[in-house]
């Protein structure tokens, strides 16, 4: 009884985070407790910003090929002004929140040069486009991971004109942890270097379009990009290398004062006419006074207006992610050998024997579902960086999708209980698709979803063919909770009712049925099975003609 209570307390309250573990489990538990007491907040975020981040290479690195950087450089050159990469959080307007064990602090972000690209909205006047530029929100989010590492992400929230009008051009109710269910517009997530991670068009909580960011790849300007003022844009016609021509309204807001240093912060812009541009901004202390409280005083200024119409090739698709972002969902690397991931994993898994031992023990003897998160380090080793527990004696793990965080793998268990599956569940499959769509896979070709069952059998799911997996995922669009539930409903019907992958069925039969499902539904996924030590993996293929599986050991 006592043991059970202790187990309950441990499993329901502790989420351990550690990075390339040199620490013992006991130490990790303590550090996690301390972290939970000292919640990441605006003060700590600011201290980290100036004490660590501003001194790092990451802070000063700019992606010259990033669309925003490219467009700003282009237009500053056209207007003969000096390019500025100055950006600064507005420290006094912080919002703190948690997503699972990821603690986030959001600040409005001020730019020396801020670029806004308006896609479509062809019927708008230039004045109306300016209003949209004014309404757009720029945020910087500092995300503290369970292991203490802090990631910086920039988030742009650009509304469609109709939504902005409905909101009287104030969309400040939208934050990075809450998007108004009626929001219509573009949400873009970028690294601090301005490299785009993903750009999504959202309508009523649904992702309706993902914009593949190839605009920066327009090396041949004549072929792939040209000024709309130079020639009529052949809207809708095919581009030479895919995509189609579309006109974009691009606008860069410049603040001369801020451009020269972290002195003045733009927080909003008002346009009185096409050629006169008025900004409201707040005067801040210089960088040398970072540790002092800012004296923010609104004053007026006039800056340059740099509107620009450009005709570019647009690449759109639902669930079509950037080649250059963190998601790594690159079709060019299709048909990876699943054994490569398995072989990488087996030796590294042995390094984390305690984690896997705990997970297996929890599956076979315990009453808690657990998932470990793996991240590859620079040497290519998988490292167990954190784990999350479900509730004691309750099937399932509640799993928030972390914003902008990339993983290389998850390994979880299903423990013994009535109704428990000895195979992947529809929830596991939906989660895999959500991580793919949301850009949480650092490299989809190497990503694995591990499972240890109540029978001490371990399986891996890897993405063998990214293009196929993308098409499969497109059948289940939407990352909001309602859509996720509906998608799981449909997936569950296929897996349980049509393919009979369900509880109460032998593991051999469920292996066969799972392999059959993956094959027949063109998922692009490969099922693999590990030996008891997770030291040797075999591929499981379904032979449609013979209606049986073949097992091929990895070398």
């Amino acid at each position: 009884m006592c043991k059970t209570i202790i187990k309950y307390i441990i499993y329901t309250n502790v989420i351990i985070a550690f990075f390339i573990c040199n620490f013992s489990c006991r130490k990790l538990d303590k550090s996690t407790e301390l972290e939970s007491i000292n919640k990441f907040n605006a003060i700590e975020a600011k201290e980290w910003w100036y004490g660590v981040f501003k001194k790092s290479t990451e802070y000063s690195t700019i992606d010259e090929n990033a669309t925003n950087v490219r467009m700003i450089k282009k237009m500053t050159k056209l207007n003969n002004i000096q390019f500025s990469n100055n950006r600064m959080p507005i420290w006094s307007k912080a919002i703190s929140y948690s997503v699972g064990k990821f603690e986030c602090v959001e600040f409005p972000l001020a730019y020396g040069h801020k670029v806004t690209i308006i896609d479509g909205e062809k019927n708008l006047t230039t004045e109306q486009k300016y209003k949209l530029v004014d309404t757009k929100l720029e945020k910087v989010v500092l995300i503290k991971q369970p292991n203490g590492k802090i990631e910086v992400r920039i988030v742009s929230i650009l509304p469609k004109y109709a939504y902005a009008l409905d909101m009287n051009f104030d969309i400040s109710n939208n934050q990075t942890n809450y998007i108004d269910p009626t929001f219509k517009g573009i949400i873009q997530v970028r690294k601090w270097s301005e490299t785009i991670i993903h750009t999504k068009e959202i309508v009523n909580n649904k992702v309706v379009k993902i914009i593949k960011d190839k605009l920066q790849k327009t090396n041949n300007k004549d072929a792939l990009s040209r000024d709309a003022t130079d020639a009529t844009c052949p809207e809708g016609q095919n581009c030479p290398n895919g995509g189609y021509w579309q006109s974009f309204f691009t606008h860069v807001c410049e603040n001369n004062n801020y451009s020269s240093g972290d002195v003045v912060v733009v927080v909003g812009c008002l346009h009185s006419s096409l050629n006169t541009y008025v900004c409201d901004y707040w005067q801040c202390n210089s960088e040398g006074d970072d540790d002092e409280d800012e004296d923010e005083t609104p004053i007026d200024c006039t800056t340059n207006v740099l509107p620009y119409e450009e005709c570019m090739c647009a690449y759109y698709d639902l669930n079509y992610c950037s080649d250059n972002g963190d998601d790594g969902n690159d079709d060019d690397n299709d048909n990876d050998d699943p054994c490569a991931t398995a072989n990488d994993l087996k030796s590294d898994t042995l390094k984390n024997t305690q984690a896997i031992k705990n997970l297996r023990d929890s599956a076979v003897n315990g009453k808690t579902e657990t998932s470990h998160f793996y991240v590859k380090d620079a040497s290519g080793d998988f490292n167990d960086v954190s784990h999350i527990n479900g509730k004691y004696d309750v099937l399932g793990i509640d799993f928030p999708i972390p914003p902008g965080i990339g993983f290389d793998g998850l390994w979880h268990n299903h423990f013994d209980k009535a109704g428990a599956l000895n195979m992947y569940s529809s929830g596991d499959m939906v989660s895999l698709m959500a991580l793919f769509t949301n850009g949480n896979m650092t490299n989809s070709n190497d990503f694995f979803l591990g499972l240890t069952t109540q029978l001490d059998d371990s399986y891996l799911l890897t993405i063998e063919d990214t293009a196929k997996f993308r098409l499969y995922t497109n059948r289940f669009p939407g990352l909001d909770p309602v859509n996720m539930i509906n998608n799981q409903d449909k997936l569950d019907l296929a897996m349980v009712y049509v393919y009979k992958i369900k509880s109460g069925v032998s593991k051999d039969e469920n292996e066969k049925r799972m392999a059959q499902y993956l094959n027949n539904e063109n998922t692009g996924l490969k099922l693999m099975k590990a030996d008891l030590n997770q030291n040797k993996f075999s591929k499981i293929d379904y032979d449609k003609d013979l209606n049986k599986i073949t097992i091929t050991p990895c070398n």
């Binding site: 099937l395 979880h412 299903h414 599956l421 992947y424 909770p481 996720m484 569950d492 019907l493 009712y497």
Partner: protein, 159 residues
Amino acid sequence: MKKIVSSIFLVFVCLNTYSQTVDPLDKFIGTWRWVNGNDTMVIFLKKETMVEVHNIVVLKGYNKYIKNGVVQQSTFPSNFNSNNSFNDTYFNLTNRDDSNLNKVSGIIGDYQNNKSVSLTLNYISATAINFIVTPMSGFHVNGIPGPIKLPSDIILIKQ
């Protein structure tokens, strides 16, 4: 004697025909309600084909849960019409256990916790069904930790 044999044969044929044509899903069709003080659960079930999932025939349904007089979740559309096609229903049930034709199951949304839970309906009589929700194995994307907010093991009465 010949008449008796013919009659038995006829009864057998009729029974066999009946068993082939009566779908076990049919007895679940309709509106079902559970009321306990100020708590209410209403579900509406209709049989339709799910084109997107191998054309299987399912019970498509809407549900509404009221606790202490306050609507906790409702998937009924504002323009609900039982005669319309249920393209946007929020749960789909099938008979997944060949040995028990009085049971249908599937997934239903516990929207207060942002996650899917397993739903089983057990047929008791022409006027009563048993409604049971249980947790499911695996990840619940965006799921909020905590007990299921929907009532379970309740008896719904045919309306």
